[in-house]
Symmetry: C2
């Protein structure tokens, strides 16, 4: 009989819960880009509340109410929506609004802006757009080494990154530049889920990580689990589970990204229990 245990912290964070609440209260509205990085939950919001998902502001057409996704949107897009007279319902996670404000203010004060994150992630694109000067988006010390900054640098992080990697970047900058203003914008919920996943993975034979494959924090969780438990699998729903994964396994750990709703987690656990 296999033992299935959930991580001490997992799933929905404050910002995602808040955004879903907002969306449920905004029937017939459209989100600009997916509200959260979870396809299943977005389908549910569409079928139950008629909340549609536009890929970009180019698809606005006659949209009257636009919901801003948890990751935020670029400053220019927001301006465009306002100009179009669209009703704006802001579901940007307050922990994402923060680095946006920091970028705006620090670039205004003459700081070079460094963002630790993935330049293709919508959150990072949004945050970078608030810098009045070019913001440098980096993922590793290698990325920073090639850059030349002025003596004043402000650093923020994508909310879902690992603190250890953030510190590698800031350590390089502190060693080489006179003033480095470090804003730790990594979200606590991310920390909590990561620590709990690490603990559970160390005591599991197999780890199931549930979340969107486009979700940064889910991917981080999966990479942490893999470090401590080589049989770690990232799935979006119970349909992807394969019986063979569980052969000769005794202890199965389950965790979920910040945008994974409980109803999906329950379905996954239900299916594992039947194996």
């Amino acid at each position: 009989m296999m033992e299935v245990r959930l991580a001490r912290h997992y799933g929905f964070c404050f910002g995602v819960k808040r955004a879903i609440q907002i969306a449920q209260n905004s029937k017939n509205a459209s989100t600009i880009g997916p509200l959260i990085h979870n396809n299943e939950e977005i389908k549910r919001l569409n079928s139950d509340f008629n909340v549609k998902t536009l890929h970009s502001i180019d698809e606005l057409n006659d949209t009257k109410k636009a919901i801003i996704r948890t990751h935020g949107i670029p400053k220019g897009d927001l301006k465009y929506l306002k100009k179009k007279g669209v009703d704006i319902i802001d579901a940007t996670c307050p922990f994402v609004t923060k680095p946006q404000q920091i970028c705006e203010q620090m670039s205004d004060e003459g700081y070079d802006i460094v963002i630790f994150g993935d330049k293709n992630h919508p959150e990072v694109k949004g945050v970078a757009s608030y810098s009045q000067t070019k913001a440098y988006v980096v993922l590793s010390v290698e990325d920073v080494k090639d850059l030349k900054f002025s003596s004043k640098i402000a650093v923020v992080s994508q909310t879902t990154r690992k603190i250890e990697e953030f510190l590698q970047i800031t350590n390089y900058l502190v060693t080489h530049y006179k003033e480095v203003r470090v804003f730790n914008t990594i979200c606590n919920a991310t920390f909590d889920n990561q620590n709990a996943a690490k603990q559970l993975a160390q005591n599991s034979d197999i780890m199931i990580v549930i979340g969107g494959k486009n979700s940064s924090n889910t991917k981080q969780l999966h990479s942490i689990c893999e470090e401590f438990c080589k049989d770690s699998f990232l799935i979006e729903s119970e349909k992807e589970i394969k019986n063979e994964w569980f052969k000769n396994k005794k202890r199965c750990g389950v965790t979920a990204g910040a945008s994974t709703p409980d109803w999906i987690i329950q379905k996954v656990i239900g299916k594992i229990n039947k194996i």
Copy 2:
């Protein structure tokens, strides 16, 4: 025959050279505390230029010209000298003036001030005195763990500290607080001497470190040499050299702190060459 090699960088830094020049141009003046941390050089300035050393401002008496030492002095003492109408000749190292200004400005802007350094060192006492609020002086992560800060922290370093230890402190703060404004006030000359000492120590059987036993940067040099060459000795002058140290040694490395004059270094090398 023993091979004696000097480190690629050693001895006098910019601030010390400048202070000695200033003192030589200020015959009959008195320094408030030792001008630099090197007793031999201070004796020379006294005998050749009649520059006296007062232990504190309480010994002013009828002093007309006061030289401010390389390490700076507390803000209150400076104010007192001005009130007394004493001619002030400022030999504070510009790299020490910098953290003083940072402390003043940052505490004014509501930052909690953290100084990485030795609370009993005159430079640190001076720098701390410029904070309008209590400045926290710490030497290790253990020291910081017990403290509670507001969300905004500004960090400076005593100029002569090791960058690796500074980063340990800033990493702890960045992990636990929202905004950490890191000013890397560690002096390049200190870096250069430390790197050169490390390199030389790795290729020596015995290391002689020349400098004041009250000199922070000399003590750091000695501790770095000890890491890479167990027979490392800290001396203030050639008189302390013991022949037995050199038994069975082939390669002798020599380095000197930022306040050690060349004439002392030459005497030391002369004596070693005679062994």
